[in-house]
């Protein structure tokens, strides 16, 4: 049996739904007595639907194709870059980190023209700072 994208995601949702129902919901939802809709009523229903539909999808997958693996890798790269950027931003502040994020992304896209690089790295963060801090009187992250 060839691995099909729907079979893979179906298996994921089957397992995810079971994990929710058997482990996550009992642990992280408080039990309450009385009342009509308990805190775990809707999450449990969702968990059952997820695992049932996951199983059905494994049995009857569509012919859906995902994009190439290399694209997922690139997406992961951008995701990682942004996540690191945000963590750094939490530590050092927007003013220092935002130009670096902008520079990294523009270089990764393939921008090499100095004018646009300066616009993105200096101009845009500067404009945001001016707008948010000076005009709107709000705090930057």
């Amino acid at each position: 049996m060839k691995i099909n994208a729907d079979r893979a995601s179906g298996l994921f949702f089957l397992l995810f739904g079971l994990a929710l129902y058997l482990f996550i919901i009992p642990t992280f939802v408080e039990q309450v007595e009385g009342g009509w809709v308990h805190p775990d009523t809707v999450p449990n229903a969702v968990a059952i639907v997820l695992s049932l539909c996951g199983a059905l999808l494994m049995l009857r997958p569509t012919k859906h194709h995902t994009q190439e693996a290399s694209e997922f890798v690139r997406a992961g790269l951008y995701f990682g870059l942004l996540m690191v950027g945000l963590v750094l931003m939490g530590r050092f502040g927007f003013i220092y980190v935002a130009p670096m994020i902008a520079l990294a992304i523009m270089l990764l896209i393939g921008e090499r023209r100095p004018f646009w690089l300066v616009c993105g790295v200096v101009g845009m963060p500067g404009a945001i700072w001016l707008l948010v801090v000076q005009v709107l009187d709000r705090a930057l992250p």
């Binding site: 805190p39 539909c53 996540m83 896209i109 845009m124």
Partner: protein, 508 residues
Amino acid sequence: MVDLSTILAGFADAFTIWNLAFVLFGVVVGQFVGAVPGIGPVMAMAIAIPFTFGLDPLPAIAFLVGVNKGGLVGGAVPAVLMNTPGTPDAAATAMDGYPLARDGKPLKATKMALFSSVTGDSFSDLVLITVSAPLAILALRMGPVEVFALMVFAFSVLSGLIGNSLIKGIIAAALGLLCASVGTDPENYTPRLIFGMFDFYDGLPLASVAIGTLAIAEILRRLTQMSGQVKPAVEVKDTGNPQDMRVSWAEYWACRFTMLRGAMIGTVLGALPGIGSTAAAFMSYASAKSASKDPGSFGKGNLHGIAAAESANSAVVGSNLIPLLTLGIPGSVGAALIISAFMIHGIQPGPLLFQDQGRLIYGLFGAMIMANFLNLWVGQVGLRFWVKVVSAPESIIFASALLLCIVGVSMATGGIFGVIVMLVFAGIGYLMSSFGYSVVIFIIAFFLGPRFEISLSQSLALMNGDWTRIIEYPIALLLLLVSIISIWWFLRRSGPDTTKSSQVTAED
């Protein structure tokens, strides 16, 4: 009731140069700030409120109304031009707006959005001004059981948006409901699924989830597909045909029934507190699609799609003021912000508002009408500006959009934590659309989830846990019946039996 002289005096107040200047200023600010990715109309209003502290009540509220209405028009701009909506209702506009913009007709797409938005808005304003009292009584009759049935109906309408796999559509909706259940449960207020993070106590931050799955996920997808050549973010093709730059009267007129239906759906749902513009936009879109002779053209740049979504979500905003002005009950966050502005200026909304403040209310109505005209006028100029902006290279557009979304979400959620949640949901959204799960269905279910659960709880409490008592609620029964019919109807038309092989991308 209010006498004629008060009404006239109110309108006269609104049309002074001073007040008009504030409405104009509000519309300009709203259109500009609303169009910035990651900020959007509600954020624009929240930011604007402190600026009204020093003003008299009428210019202050006129300004906010201007921001609100301008923000609505602006909110459609990033959705149409870049496929990066900041709110779920703008996602409905993106479904047909973005394909049209990608075909080199960004001005036509955004102008259609502008015209239908102003049309829907004007319709609901007229309803507000003329028949708000009877509509408010109707809204009171819609109790929890009826609202629950309405929620079921809204979910049934989702089936009209399910692409080629019913199972995957249900999974997407279930995931949305699961994310909606994070935070305190509506009946017992126990924190659930927050994993020790008290920032999630009130649920996942709406702005983080919406902007993450809708806008950032799309930006991620586009970034990974770049070939290393930097192109303009949107190319305006010079076809030599001026028709591609504008919306002709014939095209506008052809959408009149779509817009009227959208405006009515939006007005009715807007008059019911707490339903919101998301349900309205998608109900209108799905019904326009099912009423169309050519449903296959929806999602590929059909003007009717834009008209349906924009007329409905804009109509919600006008009629949201119906419960606010007649009963003092805010129907949405935007309406709550207007109440806050009333209170700051010493006015207590409630059942006596028309009696106590008649002149001010009619001044507000005058300002609303003027704001609609100004929206049209400012929009004509503003849209050209935005189309020009997004003709800049992709590199700077996407880098700037990312920074703006980071700042916008950080302002909306109060810190970097919300931004990290946004990024996590961007990852989830990216994976979902890669594997062919509809992000739009996910986000609608997420937005409707809390109201669905609380109205389920309320209904059970009212019926004492006995579902057979639903026969005492004829409107609810009718809505449930319509839900069943519409599921059957939608699935028959676009159901899973269409065995096209699916190259599903984020647009579904």
